[in-house]
């Protein structure tokens, strides 16, 4: 019921409701964004966009799911959008380098620089390798693996956000792990070679 009041207040443009929503969700949303894009500044920008989107399209929220689920969905979409844009820039940068016009674009990662404050120094190298491998997964597997393993959401929450059944989510997780093992094997074989 409290959530309903909050939604109504948001629809009326109540500033206090905006503050309340930010207090309730900023931590969770920022952590979801940084789980997809492991760079503090990039994640902050994405999280800001998420809240602006929430405020601008609260009228479109039909109430078919929990408010938190809807906000998580926006976060996932915004993060994926960011990754797609970065990948396009990377491809464009590659084309430019072929044509001889070098652009200052990072060609190694979809994030500007690996900077995740929640990762300890001794795990930094392995985590960076893992994030780069995750980026190579098909999008559905990437979403499920990131939400469950990196962001630490339960299967129930992942199912609600992705609108998939438990069986489908488990199957995606299984395939994601298998693919990651393959990708990491290729990486380490080359690296150790």
């Amino acid at each position: 019921m409290e959530e309903q009041y909050l939604i109504e207040a948001l629809r009326k443009g109540d500033q206090q409701a905006y503050r309340q929503l930010l207090d309730d969700y900023q931590g969770r949303i920022f952590n979801t964004c940084i789980s997809f894009v492991p760079n503090k500044e990039d994640a902050e920008d994405i999280a800001q966009e998420v809240f602006l989107e929430v405020f601008n399209s609260i009228d479109k929220f039909k109430g078919n799911s929990k408010l938190s689920t809807w906000i998580y969905r926006i976060s996932v979409n915004k993060s994926l959008e960011f990754i797609r844009k970065r990948s396009t820039k990377k491809r464009f940068g590659f084309m430019q380098s072929i044509l001889g016009n070098e652009l200052p674009v990072d060609k190694t990662s979809y994030f500007t620089e690996f900077n995740h404050p929640g990762i300890q120094l001794e795990n930094k190298e392995k985590s960076e390798i893992l994030f780069n491998a995750i980026d190579k997964l098909p999008e559905a597997q990437k979403v499920v693996f990131t939400l469950h393993k990196i962001d630490g959401l339960s299967y129930k929450e992942v199912c609600a956000i992705t609108e998939r059944s438990l069986a489908s989510t488990e199957s995606l997780m299984f395939r994601a792990k298998k693919n990651l093992q393959g990708l990491l094997r290729d990486y380490y074989v080359k690296d150790q070679g």
Binding site: Y18, F30, Q48, F51, F55, L130, K149
Partner: protein, 107 residues
């Protein structure tokens, strides 16, 4: 064999690194930044509103109209040209109606 085991161990450790990621504190002033940017985007949305109605659905419809009009124009042009060509061919080889009449006139 030893190398293979080493690689498998590295893979396991890399996958395991995901479970050591800790929750991150929200950057300071994040809330203020969001509230500030909420106050400014009006102009941007207003500008975007000018062409915002031209959604992909309308874009496809416009493209289809463009293709149909062009196809019709090309078809008409070819038909007109065909008639002209036939006429000029007939005239050149004396096959047109006027010439035939002339050929059979007896004074």
């Amino acid at each position: 064999m030893e190398r293979k085991d080493k690689i498998e161990k590295l893979i396991e450790e890399t996958l395991e690194s995901a479970s050591h990621i800790e929750t991150v504190e929200v950057p300071s002033l994040f809330k203020e930044k969001v509230l500030n940017s909420m106050a400014t985007p009006e102009e941007i949305t207003e500008e975007a509103g000018i062409i915002s109605w031209f959604t992909p659905r309308y874009q496809v419809a416009a493209l289809i109209c463009f293709v149909i009009v062009n196809a019709y124009a090309v078809l008409q042009y070819t038909l007109d040209n065909y008639e002209d060509n036939v006429e000029s061919f007939a005239e050149e080889y004396g096959l047109s109606e006027a010439e035939e009449d002339y050929g059979y006139t007896i004074n």
